[in-house]
């Protein structure tokens, strides 16, 4: 069977080109992610780096690993999905050939083996190319992570020979998984289909397709319901799962939607003869339409859904930050400059928060496991009274009034980390001292909150003066924030922002890494979807040569045939966009502002608009070009030809 597989792949490579490219890109991406991941597993801390720098590097590595861990499985899903839909379509195109093998005595298991054999060869070839492509990809990925500040500038991923095992496993795995369902479909091809005269089984909605579509749809609906009452983290998880299952569901069920939407578009299309023909073709070639729509569905569902979820999360964090902070302006400066803010006219209260260089070693206890951990980062020196008046927080325990002298408050970031009561050990410069825990702050949504708060009177004056400081400023009632901001700027103290600007910028910085990875993921999925759509259009064009010729023999000009093909593919793309938007809407449903919580929905309209325009452009150009090629020979030659 493998020999037949090989000769089929060799002879009909255009059918496989799209799938091969998909596997290659998938392997390259996984290989580069894994190489970067492996290299981040053991952070290289430059000798002589301070504890603070080392902790920062470690945190960045963990962040990079988390992002790669999120993006890689999604990219894998896309690759399997695209290979799957390409092969499902190619089985349809090769129906006669597969039926012939059945007619000549091929059994069902043999046909499954044939397709799996093709997948194996495809996976092998894709892996070989992917391993090569993975080398520059690793470099680009590392550069990207360095660019968004997660990894240090001298980071470089090391090659590992394990890739020679892992990459082929991934490539062959993706190809075989993608082909599995198509191979079972191939096994159901009847020997009779080899005969052109035989009545065709035109049922597109097979039992398997129904089962697959409906069960994924049920799962999606269950996820939407579960997401409705979920907290923000739950909503995010739901929003990550729904694009996957929703896309599968609506892609499987899309043959049902095609005629429906076709009728809807019909009112517009029917105004011209060409439009009417396009609409009729749409209805007639449901499977072809479904193959073009599927990648568009998954592209829009995944990208708009995920981006919307992450944006909503960011907006919720920013709103939470704004809500819990009682200030009109935020000034960023050094500690020394911040000391001058209270003297500016119009300032009623200034709460300086300085990032200080010290370390705190605390005893943690989580799930009966005790450990010590030293923190160098996120330690902020505050003025307890001013802090209390500028933050609307309900303490978990204790009181900030006691935050004077050798004391410490556990910050929001460590709220759930099980820091044990009693004392922590602090190191400020050469001095080592014990600090008594007097208060515990509640958890907040933003990622970059403080680990510890220490009283300003604990810190040496010189250290405070140099520390980067954010001062929350409340104004005396009736003063213009603009005027005060101008005065602070005029005094040369530092950068002044309104509370809203500050909160948005702070959350955006924290989300920068996630957005960078999203950008890579978007680029990848966009490329995948484009490959899949072009593939479907090109494969379909071959089978339509005779159809186009008949249309021309009936009196259509060449340009009319091309226009008809473009209108048709634009309509199919619109269907895909519509269904994809539906998936994205389902993914974002749990962020819809509800009665409780700070759920804030943020719909990435710009992205959606870009996707709509890009998909329409790609399908229109691909179908125009293939229709032009297919109509090059004289129509009479094709109409007359039987084969």
């Amino acid at each position: 069977m493998l020999r037949i597989s090989a000769s089929t792949v060799r002879d009909r490579w255009p059918l496989f080109a799209g799938a091969l490219l998909t596997v290659t890109l998938g392997v390259a991406l996984v290989q580069s992610s894994v190489l970067v991941l492996v290299s981040t597993g053991e952070p290289t801390i430059p000798p002589g780096a301070s504890g603070r720098v080392a902790e920062q590097i470690r945190e960045g590595y963990v962040g990079a690993a988390t992002l790669l861990g999120m993006a890689t499985p999604l990219a894998m899903f896309l690759a399997v999905f695209i290979v799957g839909s390409t092969f499902a379509f190619s089985v349809e195109q090769r129906r006669e050939e597969l039926a012939l093998l059945r007619m000549l005595g091929g059994s069902r298991p043999q046909l499954i083996r044939l397709l799996l054999g093709e997948a194996f060869l495809l996976g092998l070839a894709g892996s070989a190319l992917g391993i090569l492509l993975g080398m520059p990809a690793t470099w680009i990925q590392a550069r990207l992570l360095i660019g968004i500040g997660l990894l240090p500038g001298d980071f470089s991923a090391r090659w590992s020979n394990g890739m020679l095992l892992l990459s082929p496993a991934v490539g062959i795995g993706v190809a075989v998984l993608g082909v599995l369902s198509a191979s079972y479909r191939a096994a159901r091809v009847r020997p009779l289909d080899a005969l052109r005269s035989a009545p065709r089984a035109t049922r597109v909605m097979t039992l398997g397709r129904w089962l697959w579509g409906v069960s994924s749809l049920v799962l999606t609906v269950m996820l939407v319901v579960a997401g409705h009452g979920a907290d923000l983290l739950g909503a995010l998880l739901v929003a990550m799962a729904i694009p996957v299952f929703g896309s599968i569901a609506l892609s499987a069920l899309s043959p049902l939607a095609v005629p429906l939407v076709g009728r809807l578009l019909g009112t517009v299309l029917r105004t011209s003869a060409l439009g009417e023909l396009a609409q009729a073709n749409l209805r007639d070639a449901v499977r072809r339409s479904a193959s073009t729509a599927a990648p568009v569905i998954v592209l829009v569902g995944l990208l708009v859904g995920l981006t919307g979820a992450l944006n909503s999360l960011a907006r919720a964090a920013s709103a939470d930050l704004e809500r819990s902070t009682a200030a009109d302006l935020v000034v960023t400066s050094t500690g020394a400059a911040a000391a001058r803010i209270p003297q500016i006219p119009g300032v009623a209260l200034a709460s300086p928060q300085s990032q200080v260089e010290m370390s705190v070693t605390a005893q943690h206890r989580v799930d009966h496991r005790s450990y010590r951990q030293t923190h160098h980062w996120g330690i902020t020196a505050v003025d307890a009274a001013a802090y209390r008046r500028t933050h609307r927080l309900t303490l978990r325990s204790g009181s900030l009034d006691a935050l004077h002298g050798r004391t410490v408050a556990i910050g929001p970031r460590l709220a759930a980390e099980g820091v044990r009561d009693g004392t922590v050990t602090a190191r400020i410069g050469p001095h080592k001292l014990k600090l008594r825990i007097v208060a515990r702050l509640p958890e907040v949504l933003e990622n970059g909150s403080d680990n510890f708060l220490v009283p300003r009177d604990l810190m040496p004056t010189a250290m405070l003066a140099d520390a980067p400081t954010e001062t929350l400023v409340q104004l005396t009632p009736g003063t213009s924030p603009q005027a005060v901001a101008d005065r602070i700027r005029a005094a040369g103290i530092g950068e002044v922002r309104t509370l809203g600007q500050w909160a948005d910028a702070r959350v955006e910085t924290q989300q920068r890494g996630t957005m960078g990875i999203m950008a890579v993921l978007m680029g990848m999925s966009g490329l995948y979807a484009a490959i899949a759509v072009i593939n479907a259009v090109v494969i379909a064009a071959a089978e339509r040569r005779t159809e186009f010729a008949v249309a021309r023999a009936t009196g259509l000009s060449r340009s009319q045939v091309v226009r008809m093909a473009v209108v048709e593919s634009a309509a199919v793309t619109l269907i895909g966009l519509l269904l994809g938007t539906l998936v994205a809407a389902a993914a974002l449903a749990s962020f819809y502002p509800g009665p409780g919580g700070v759920h804030v929905l943020s719909v990435p309209w710009t992205l959606l608009g870009l996707l709509i325009m890009a998909s329409l452009a790609v399908t229109a150009v691909a179908s125009a070009l293939t229709a032009l090629t297919a109509t090059r020979p004289s129509p009479t030659a094709l109409v007359a030809a039987r084969e």
Binding site: I4, S7, T8, R10, D11, R12, E96, E97, L100, L101, R102, M103, L104, G105, G106, S107, R108, Q110, R190, P191, L192, A194, L195, R196, S197, A198, P199, R642, E643
Partner: protein, 254 residues
């Protein structure tokens, strides 16, 4: 209605390779239902060549498909090489296709990516056998294409492709060869070569052939002709001339 046993030159062979009794085949349901075959009973005796003729839509292709186990019958019984295949499983039908039946089609249906030799060897390989090159070359030599083994189908003429298809069908030594318009896509010269080839197989090796055709000349090469009309057997002729066949056909169509 039962067609009289059409006697061929090997009429003494006990088990007829193909027997249909009271076979009906309906497509669709309700108002759009089409009766393609209506209680057809026919026997194709061993070692004989029978042509099945009839106007378009008379059910001749359906008859061939049902006889070969490619299509299920709605009612009645089909015996293929002594085995009742009316309710056979897919695996049983696959086994029959490997050993008992061979097919030749109007549009050749060779696999374009395989050479002539590989095409001929394919049924044996699908059946799990390891065909020797000699077997394959003998099969090709039998159809006069010993020197074309390495050629791909697109490098062969229509007549040559059809002869490769016949070699492929015969390489498993099937009990019965089903041919669906085998000369339909060929010029007169190539058609004559193919018909001569089939005649030789029947006369020399006692091959049973069931052939659907439109062409009275092709039908006249057969031992017997069965005429179908509206899914029923309307007539039959033994050793007819092309003129006789054409005349009967015109009468049926009129």
């Amino acid at each position: 209605m039962r067609a009289p046993a059409t006697a061929g030159p090997h009429a003494g062979v006990p088990v007829a390779p193909v027997q249909l009794s009271q076979v009906s085949r309906r497509y669709g349901a309700g108002e759009t239902q089409v009766q393609a075959l209506a209680e057809v009973s026919v026997t194709f005796p061993a070692g004989s060549w029978t042509a099945v003729m009839g106007p378009s839509g008379s059910g001749k292709s359906t008859l061939l498909h049902c006889a070969a186990g490619l299509d299920r019958v709605s009612a009645g019984r089909v015996l293929l090489a002594g085995q009742d295949i009316t309710h056979a499983t897919d695996a049983e039908l696959t086994r029959l296709r490997r050993r008992t039946v061979g097919f030749v089609f109007q549009n050749f249906n060779l696999i374009g990516s395989l050479s002539a030799e590989q095409n001929v060897a394919l049924p044996l390989r699908l059946a799990g056998a390891r065909p020797s090159r000699r077997d394959v070359q003998t099969a090709l030599a039998d159809v006069g294409l010993a020197d074309r083994g390495r050629h791909r189908p697109r490098e062969l003429s229509g007549g040559q492709q059809q002869r490769v298809a016949i070699a492929r069908a015969m390489v498993t030594r099937p009990s019965v060869l089903f041919a669906d318009e085998p000369t339909g896509a060929l010029d007169t010269g190539s058609a004559r070569t193919v018909l001569r080839l089939l005649r030789r197989m029947v006369d020399a090796a006692g091959q049973t052939v069931v052939m659907v055709t439109h062409d009275p000349v092709a039908a006249a090469s057969a031992d017997a002709v069965v005429f179908l009309s509206d899914g029923r057997i309307a007539d039959h002729l033994l050793r007819p001339s092309a003129a006789q066949v054409a005349e009967r056909l015109t009468r049926l169509e009129g």
